[in-house]
């Protein structure tokens, strides 16, 4: 019961954030309206989260930056999860493909992730699309490996052999028997991936390699605000805490989902609960 409550609360809070980001910009002052007279104002009734160095409303920028940051993270997650899932399924199930695909993934993962992403972004020019491509490339091997190990476990089950005895082809078996049994884990993986994507996306736009200003993102808001860290700390704290909150909520959802999906994790969790109760 407690497990489900965590899941519902965390997912609900995330849903609320998404809703705010989608709906609220309509009601808030313009994102790009500069007002040099009212620059670096602390939070007040007129400007709930203060203003930045150009006198722009931080609340508006935060909410609208959320569209870019959340949207892009979601897109990256979907792309990386999809490619990772396909590669993981194929390489876990077909031994010949496995040798090739996994060596490629190993080589891939031996590059430091953020530097690889930077190199890609610089060579292709910073934009939404390059960031999408760069981060998809980075996250694919991680997903692929997790999925593959699960596929290997499923493929050794007797029902895969039974499918063969029943005359089912390999590809169909992969689709009908392996994929559905891997799916729960893939869902957990998606949530974990989303949290990681948010963090790396923040770092990329902080470094100026993501969506370029003046379009606000949480990452580039921190980058712009860091010169005023002492005089106007809210410029950094507000987007920073927001990223943190989102990642924290995603991780909560992730571990609650894992417990729901993986009986071993669930048993562990219940035992811990029991131990705390008996001592």
């Amino acid at each position: 019961m407690r497990r489900n409550r965590t899941l519902v609360l965390a997912a609900g809070a995330l849903g609320l954030i998404v809703l705010i980001v989608l709906v609220l910009p309509v009601f808030l002052p313009s994102v790009s309206a500069t007002d040099p007279v009212h620059r670096l104002l602390p939070p007040s009734a007129a400007h709930l989260l203060g203003t930045d160095s150009y006198g722009r409303d931080v609340a508006s920028r935060l909410v609208s930056g959320g569209r870019a940051s959340l949207g892009l993270s979601a897109l990256i997650t979907v792309c990386a999860a999809a490619t990772g899932l396909v590669i993981g399924l194929v390489s876990g199930f077909f031994r010949a493909a496995d040798a090739v695909l996994m060596r490629v993934m190993d080589a891939w993962m031996s590059f430091p992730a953020i530097i690889l992403a930077m190199a890609l972004a610089i060579s292709l020019g910073a934009s939404l699309w390059t960031e999408l491509i760069a981060l998809t490339v980075i996250f694919t091997p991680f997903t692929a490996r997790v999925i593959r190990s699960r596929v290997l476990a499923v493929a050794s089950r007797a029902y895969i052999g039974a499918a063969r005895v029943s005359g089912m082809g390999r590809w169909k078996t992969l689709l009908v028997h392996v994929f559905p049994n891997v799916l729960p884990l893939a869902l957990v993986q998606v949530v974990v991936l989303a949290a990681a994507a948010m963090l790396v996306d923040g770092a990329m736009s902080f470094l100026g390699l993501g969506i370029a200003p003046p379009t606000p993102t949480w990452g580039n808001m921190i980058a712009e605000g860091r010169s005023y860290l002492v005089t106007a700390p809210w410029l950094v704290v507000v987007p920073g805490v927001t990223i943190m909150l989102c990642v924290f909520l995603l991780n909560l959802v992730g571990s609650a989902l894992r417990q729901a999906v993986d009986p071993r994790a669930r048993t562990l969790h219940e035992l811990q609960r029991l131990r705390t109760r008996t001592t």
């Binding site: 019961m1 089950r157 007797a158 029902y159 052999g161 039974a162 499918a163 063969r164 005895v165 029943s166 005359g167 089912m168 028997h177 559905p180 049994n181 219940e270 035992l271 029991l274 008996t278 001592t279």
Partner: protein
């Protein structure tokens, strides 16, 4: 005074929908130095009882215990966790079923044996470890002490476990199915060893087993559990030869025995009869043979399977030749590693032989793979897997599982498919509402019926059954065997029945083959194998086979 006394012990599992009672008001006692066998089928509460005595259950499941467990006069249920820890190991020893899982894979035997001794007593401890290892038959102590668990065979691991449990001279040993995972010949050695060691040390013992034959060998007293309740307790001979409760009688009747033919069907335990009273076994009447047997024999000709490259290769199957006539029930018996499963997988074309040919009618299975249409071959040959738990996709309903070969091999669709699935579900004796259920909602026996329905769906003329009953309780084993016997009467069907259970296969098969280290060492009719075994290994198997003393009243078999 008794060393151990259970006084109306009840154990309930705490769930979200209230408590579920696993053991109900169990009372029994055990004197010092005696062995009590607790016998029961899965779900009878025997393991729960064992783990409750040593209070390990509370670490793995949320349970509520009532009643008393008095050990040497002290009620263990009331002890604080700290004081209970003083009892575990020191006074209560435990031996688990899976020795490999219970030993630490990252530590050598030496460290695990001396672990519980304080540092300044290490030398004494090691001397003791050596003495105990010698006693359990591992005389090569220096080498054994330096081994890791995975470097030992199953039998050696269980010997080390026994030595480990004896390190602190416990007053009571609790052994939970210590030989179930072992081969019969190893089991016989371990049981003999166990008995000797126990007598030498004067240790009392609670021995949990599902196997009446094992209980007959080690017990002083036997307690029979059924659904969490004690149905009978008494001296061994009394329980085995003059059981007072119908469930005990039924359980004994279900155990396959050497020299008792079950070709006309196995007795099974009927819960309906059990609720009513005296006799709980029933035997179904098999229909007469309906089909004339014709068709092609299965011919296995000089087949070998070698794993690995030359140098470090393993000959899993070595030059095996045999022939199974149409309609024949051929039993293949052997211990783990004998190659029986590999041979079965080659015959069902899941593996290709390294050399030799398997022919079945027009189909040929050669080192180059399966010649001809795989679809045609699969229609003719089907496989029943050992573990119904893992051979059924947990996300597919029974109906979908049974429909799979009908779709893939016969090409049935729509209402025709549905009605065929319904027929098959009825034919294997499952209730109609099974169709919509997932494997997790079915019992072990029901799952195996589903996998049998899947195997017969395409109307094969040969079924390879790889240990189809070894994961099942004896009473359920009888039901599944009856189903196989029934199917063989109503269809044109040959069976290759692979098993490690000698009594079982000798009681039903037309002919039996014995495999040992990849070779087929002996083939013959059951009576000939039982009475006049030609090969040394067959004789060893027969000698190790756990047997029950004969029941004095054969009328109990209800025939």
């Amino acid at each position: 005074m008794a060393l151990l006394e259970l006084d109306r012990l009840s154990v309930g599992l705490v769930t979200e929908h209230g408590d579920r009672e696993l053991v109900h008001e169990l009372s029994l006692d055990l004197a010092a130095g005696r062995t009590l066998c607790v016998v029961g089928e899965s779900g009878s509460g025997k393991t729960v009882t064992a783990l409750s005595i040593i209070r390990l259950l509370e670490f793995v499941a949320p349970v509520r215990t009532s009643g008393q467990i008095r050990f040497d006069g002290e009620d263990l249920t009331g002890l604080s966790p700290d004081r209970m820890r003083g009892y575990r190991g020191r006074r209560l020893g435990m031996i688990f079923q899976e020795a490999l899982d219970s030993l630490n894979p990252a530590q050598r035997v030496r460290r695990q044996l001396v672990e519980c001794y304080p540092r300044h007593l290490r030398e004494q401890a090691e001397a003791k470890a050596r003495a105990l290892l010698t006693e359990v038959g591992l005389t090569d102590t220096e080498r054994v002490l330096n081994l890791y668990p995975h470097q030992m065979s199953g039998g050696m691991q269980q010997r080390v476990m026994i030595a480990l449990a004896l390190m602190s001279d416990p007053d009571l040993l609790i052994a939970d199915e210590p030989t179930t995972a072992l081969d019969v010949t190893t089991q016989a050695e371990i049981l003999a060893l166990f008995d000797r060691v126990r007598r030498d040390h004067g240790t009392a013992c609670v021995f949990i087993t599902h196997d009446m034959g094992v209980a007959a060998q080690v017990a002083d007293r036997i307690a029979v559990l059924y659904r969490g309740k004690l149905v009978e307790i008494g001296d061994r001979d009394e329980v085995l030869t003059a059981p007072s409760h119908p469930y005990t009688r039924a359980l004994l009747a279900c155990v396959p025995q050497l020299g008792v033919s079950r070709r006309e069907g196995f007795p099974t335990i009927s819960e309906a009869l059990l609720d009513k009273g005296e006799v709980a076994t029933e035997t179904l009447v098999l229909p007469p043979h309906e089909h004339p047997v014709d068709g092609a024999p299965l011919v296995v000709d000089g087949v070998s399977k070698v794993y690995g490259r030359s140098g470090r290769s393993l000959r899993a199957v070595d030059e095996v030749s045999l022939e199974i006539a149409p309609g024949e029930f051929f039993g293949l018996v052997g211990e783990s590693g004998s190659g029986k499963t590999t041979l079965g997988r080659m015959i069902s074309a899941l593996e290709t032989p390294t050399s030799g040919t398997i022919s079945f009618g027009a189909h040929r299975c050669t080192p180059k793979g399966l010649l001809g249409s795989e679809r045609e071959f699969r229609r003719a040959t089907q496989l029943i897997f050992q573990d119904p738990q893992s051979s059924l996709d947990p996300r597919h309903t029974a109906a979908r599982i049974i429909a799979e070969p009908l779709r893939e091999l016969i090409g049935l669709r729509g209402s025709e498919l549905d009605s065929r699935v319904t027929e098959l579900i009825a034919e294997v004796g499952l209730p109609a509402d099974t169709a919509g259920k997932l494997p997790a909602q079915l019992s072990g026996g029901q799952r195996q019926r589903v996998s049998i329905a899947r195997a017969i769906a395409a109307e094969p003329s040969l079924i390879v059954a790889d240990e189809p009953t070894s994961a099942l309780d004896v009473s359920v084993q009888g039901q599944v065997m009856n189903l196989l016997l029934h199917l063989r009467r109503t269809r044109t069907l040959s069976l290759l029945f692979i098993t490690h259970n000698l009594s079982l296969v000798l009681s039903v098969a037309d002919r039996v083959g014995v495999m040992y280290r990849g070779e087929l060492v002996e083939v013959g009719e059951p009576e000939q194998i039982r009475l006049a075994p030609r090969h040394e290994y067959t004789r060893r198997l027969l000698a190790a086979n756990p047997e029950l003393p004969r029941l004095p009243e054969p009328g109990l078999l209800n025939r």
